[in-house]
Symmetry: C2
Subunit: 366 residues, 2 copies
Amino acid sequence: MAAAEEASKFSEEANAYPMTGGDGPNSYAKNSTLQRGAGDAAKELLNEAIAEKLDIDILSSSNTFHIADLGCSVGPNTFFAVENIIEAVKFKFQNQGLNSQIPEFQVFFNDHTQNDFNMLFRSLSQNRQYYAAGVPGSFYGRLFPDASIHFFHSSYALQWLSRVPKEVVDKNSPAWNKGRIHYSNSTDEVVRAYEAQHAEDMECFLNARAQETADGGVTVLLIPGRPNGTPHSHPVGNVSFQLIGSCLMDMARKGVVSEEKVDAFNIPVYAMSPQELEAAVEGNGRFSLEKMETLPHVSTHGTVSVTQLVVSHLRAALEGRITQQFGEEIVDELFELYLKKLDEQPSILASGTAIIFLVVLKRKAN
Amino acid sequence: MAAAEEASKFSEEANAYPMTGGDGPNSYAKNSTLQRGAGDAAKELLNEAIAEKLDIDILSSSNTFHIADLGCSVGPNTFFAVENIIEAVKFKFQNQGLNSQIPEFQVFFNDHTQNDFNMLFRSLSQNRQYYAAGVPGSFYGRLFPDASIHFFHSSYALQWLSRVPKEVVDKNSPAWNKGRIHYSNSTDEVVRAYEAQHAEDMECFLNARAQETADGGVTVLLIPGRPNGTPHSHPVGNVSFQLIGSCLMDMARKGVVSEEKVDAFNIPVYAMSPQELEAAVEGNGRFSLEKMETLPHVSTHGTVSVTQLVVSHLRAALEGRITQQFGEEIVDELFELYLKKLDEQPSILASGTAIIFLVVLKRKAN
């Protein structure tokens, strides 16, 4: 099948380090408060999108509404999002006096093959109102049959590129990213390599989704990125990566890690702007851009310091990759050093610009 | 949703010890040769079933053919079975000159929530010709939306009951199974308790599948059982369980395990006869029984002794349960003792009767 062959092109090699699994203190499951905060803020926009943009006659004969969450990790945020979508769809049917036609729901939870699906499955609620399935694989390739999904959702996932751009780890390339681990504080060549990878990835993502989405199907994306026209060096997430990079270089100078390994290590995360997303959707041509909104600033209320929270999140997101490259034994030291640097200059994160934007796409009829 | 609530009735608690995961020497993945042997023998019958019994116009508008394998474990047998089914369906289309109408395939791999889905997903072929999804949960409850599956397959799974019958672990019941771990060498009361559980389970299984199968959809079941009219004490598998039970009682007498724990331990495996299956299908009323054949005797060619092979299989199937009940530390000793007993009376297994039968069901139109 051409589609499956196409999908297999997207080697997961480069992006196969999932969020830290299990439910230990450094796990993603215990460290996704920031993501959930944005999810809560997005809830109303999501409800609006379903109320206003979803055609109730989207279901053909089957009477099952298919939802896919892309980059689901191990929960619990994916469960909140999915339940929210289902409630909104049901409400829409009820609101139109179509109680008897409320469909069944089947939810596909997607993430990389290396994701901890065992934990995801064990965390599913016994009383859930949907049939659940896990789908392993990169969302930059095909995951589902033609026109089979009515609602795609993806939250905090599209900032991950499909891989580290090849040039930035090639010593003979002008885009070699020596002494850094991210593009955001690097040379123009490195920035261009990341930009090109991002453009290619978005093309693949939208092509695959265009094939998989039923006519009239809706896609809601929640993306951490940067405001239009702001430099890549500003977003808080990028500043964090720069800081982690400088910690690694400190450790290289002390001989704790090899400098060569730092040179070869890059974080494939890209801060998209709303304009870039818009251009990608236009280039693809098969979706209408129904809505694009920047979420209000997320407050991180609670007892934990924001710094500690940022570190926990960063660690949950990066630990797998760092362990793979430098070995488990350096991880604690690295994040202690990082925390120390943050404490010394607490304003470094506050000064960064960052946005989370929500996008609603609708599949044009074929 | 009523269906999901219904499904949640089937607590997985009692049957939540999957085949040994991973790919170590005692894992199911390395110890499923016997099952594959039967699978090979079944291949021709499966092809026949698809050629003769599957209506090519079963697909409605969607043009995706949905296959589910129930009790898939971690592979590789499930992959062989699924690829075989897909080849046969494609061949049927080609054979009728409908090359251009060959559908896409989506395969749902189902097993208990405690199954090692991570390993299953990592074992999926990169070049597979289908979209893959994992579905956790007991197949004695609902797993899929109404009328959504075109082909169900289940091999070596339906001998597992949904749970140990309550009475057999109840000291105050006449069906208390003291000093044994299986019904097959026990009292009439215990046999009746297992029979009743099996009848109830088959009713649930067929009810769920009747709802989930598209009109005209085909179900192929491969079931290890016993010939009609033969006693439960005879099948090779049952003899193995009796022997394991006697080993445990030996160890209880030596004080290695507690006798109370042996009394409370029962293996929820039942050797169905073709007649029992037939009665269940008739009772359900929504499937026609298209074919029922006993597979030819499976030869276990190769370098390993049959005894060793049987032990390995038994261990892969039971290790999780035994560890849960008696602790990891007794497992090696138990299987050494078992092997010793087998060596002392090698004819004990050869004298048993056992069959594997293949059943083809077709969903009647609503």
